[in-house]
Symmetry: C2
Subunit: 422 residues, 2 copies
């Protein structure tokens, strides 16, 4: 098992100007080949800081991957720090990367300046993996066992996200070639409709009965529910994945239809999976969710196969005129009511001619009263076999309430379609 | 000047399953009050690892902010590590947080289990900042100068992003109370419609002419454009803010209506500001943005004053039947066309009776051809004085294209309303 550290170099990360997404891509790739990421560290463009941090990471890890600080401008100083760490006395031009610098700049219609040519200049101690997406090469520094008590390698990647991500396959190949690796196997189930704590209690005896070499993680998210992940280090893929599948099979009778997928998934995709290829279609009528449900449904590529569209009926006249909710219903029951949720779902189903429809009417906040406090939503689902409504109350801020309403609505829709299938 | 380290605790970060966005929010907030973030570190849910890492960060920083590992389940072990570091021999119930646990679970219609109650149990050495958004409190551990050679404080925040972000204001208040900080004065302008590099070139001479003590930052975001922030360290608030206002006044003739706000703002709020209190109303017709524009507009509290609603016409028959786009127009010009964008905007304006309407039709991806590559969008805006359409082409993935389309549409709407006002 090799340990790795991922280092992000750049002041812009430390002052919160940009979010580091590179590290997540790199660690996911390392995880897949059984390299354990022990730490991720971000530090600034400062010579001493870079050297101290990298020396520390090299002491504890066989693999150190850095991103950032390789640009042509004055504030990019990673290369000089790497030259010092590797004891490189001089820089050499890497011909492969120099050709790439010329190609890239010509394609952009730009002249090759000295500052660009300098990008192909690397410390003599390093090996180069040519970067085909940008001017800064990936530099590989290998250190003998004597230096840190174990073999150690630095991979220095550019910080520009698409260049960093683009370099990962070559880096992974190099790591596999130079290390004896243990595989890691993961599988997930997605659970909706239970808080993490209630879920944990519900599945306690199942969890206690897991084999010692299986590790369980709870990964909650307001839009997707709780992701339960089982991991095993080492073994034979087929066998370990079968064992995880068996463990999840024992979970099924406990959670039943609260499980909506046996892979890393979303509710909008699970709904799509129920409709795709069936010829059945879907529409939505949104009040308090204001377009969020529709936005989630259409975030799935290919949603146009089953999704016809939606009406956001924010104002009462739109509910009446476009969705055909009767004035009498609104006056008698109020806008936030089971009756209006019903009429909205049925209205948009009729308007679009869809097989199924989902609706929301509620209060995301501010406002509300005793009868309907902020966080109240009525969800409606309509289909060929009738209409159903559900009331939920959440207690979050406006933005989070809207997310919870939308997720709950997608889940009700999923259960409603499932019931029809059975 | 106080130094800070931000620590993210959790295996899910290290294996690349989730991207850490908390650290970026926290560092931006620290930056605003003049606290320098020296490092960000992520490490796993392992007792020894947590203790070693935190001890190391405490040695080099006055402030250590952690997120994660405070959940009620077995894989969350930050609290035990903090108890050990702080020498807490026992745990005590925090009444304020216990009340919050009851409130939150009751609001969700759930019973309070022992596992929930345990969330209010904290190491005796800590002070608690009650978390109003979740069951895990923020724990504050203060260490005397003798321990690390300087005063040091740990703030342990929950890892759930909206809870972590929600806790930031209270943490910042506490940091300001306990540290001698140099005031920092910031003001922002919001610019839309120029890439960072083009903007930087356009305002180069203005930037070069800024007083030496003013620091300029570019903060780009696909949904809001570029936020330009001027900062001054130290001084008297009134005087420094006046000087920043003067600098921004010199920027106005250069960027003109590309500036949409003189505070930290969003396009959907800027559009709302133009409509609020005027009696004028708004509606939307969305195809490729699938509800994103409506979702953004309704994310503004009080949007119901001016926003009537929208139609997501994902399927062609919905464009025809609900929005009244003629079959002939679609056949002659294609769905992704100026003519259809026009007809959609005019159609939803007529349907809802709104003063203004905005529409989108395009290709977020996958698909596309030579004529309309992925990333193409036609935006329509309609109002009492006519209709206008604009074509834009972006080069991102599906999710990012949808965001860019929605932002561009809100900006066209803003410019269109402004033109009517002048």
């Amino acid at each position: 098992m090799a340990n790795a550290s991922i280092c992000t170099i750049g002041d812009e990360i430390l002052i919160g100007q940009i979010v580091d997404t590179n590290s997540s891509h790199i660690s996911a790739a390392l995880e897949e080949i059984g390299v354990k990421v022990t730490r991720m560290v971000s530090f600034g463009d400062d010579h001493e800081e870079i050297i101290n941090n990298l020396m520390n990471e090299l002491t504890h890890n066989e693999i150190v991957i850095t991103t950032g600080g390789l640009g042509p401008t004055k504030d990019d100083i990673t290369k000089a720090a790497l030259a010092e760490i590797s004891g490189s006395k001089r820089y050499v031009i890497n011909d492969g990367q120099l050709r790439m610098v010329h190609e890239i700049l010509h394609a952009r219609g730009l002249d090759v300046l000295d500052i660009n040519r300098a990008q192909a200049l690397v410390p003599e101690a390093c090996e180069v993996i040519v970067n085909h997406l940008g001017t800064a090469p990936v530099m590989v520094f290998r250190f003998p066992k004597e230096k840190f008590g174990h073999s150690a390698t630095i991979y220095a990647l550019p910080g520009v996200p698409f260049e960093a991500v683009g370099a990962i396959p070559d880096v992974i190949k190099d790591i596999k070639r130079h290390n004896e690796l243990t595989d890691i196997f993961h599988k997930c189930v997605m659970v909706f409709g239970m808080a993490e704590s209630a879920l944990s209690k519900e599945i306690e005896s199942w969890e206690d009965g897991l084999p010692k070499d299986m590790h369980l993680a709870y990964l909650p998210n307001p839009l997707t529910g709780v992701r339960l992940r089982l991991s095993i280090y080492g073994g034979v893929r087929e066998e370990e994945e079968r064992r995880i599948d068996e463990a999840f099979a024992r979970l099924r009778p406990i959670l039943e239809d609260k499980i909506y997928s046996y892979k890393d998934d979303t509710l909008e995709n699970a709904v799509g999976a129920l409709l795709r290829g069936t010829g059945m279609t879907l529409s939505a009528a949104e009040s308090c969710t204001g377009g969020k449900i529709s936005s989630l449904i259409t975030s799935v590529p290919g949603a146009s196969e089953y999704y016809l569209g939606s009406v956001t009926s924010y104002a009462v006249p739109v509910k009446e005129k476009v969705l055909g909710v009767s004035e009498a219903t609104i006056n008698e029951y109020g806008v936030v009511s089971s009756e209006v949720a019903s009429a909205m779902a049925e209205g948009v189903r009729k308007l679009t001619g869809s097989t199924y429809a989902v609706s929301t009417t509620g209060l995301a906040g501010p406002g509300g009263d005793e009868h309907n406090p902020v966080g109240t939503v009525w969800i409606g689902v309509a289909g060929p076999n009738g209409t159903k409504t559900v009331r939920k109350v959440y207690k979050n801020d406006r933005k989070r309430n809207i997310e919870r309403f939308a997720a709950a609505a997608l889940n009700e829709l999923r259960l409603f379609i499932l019931e029809d299938h059975n």
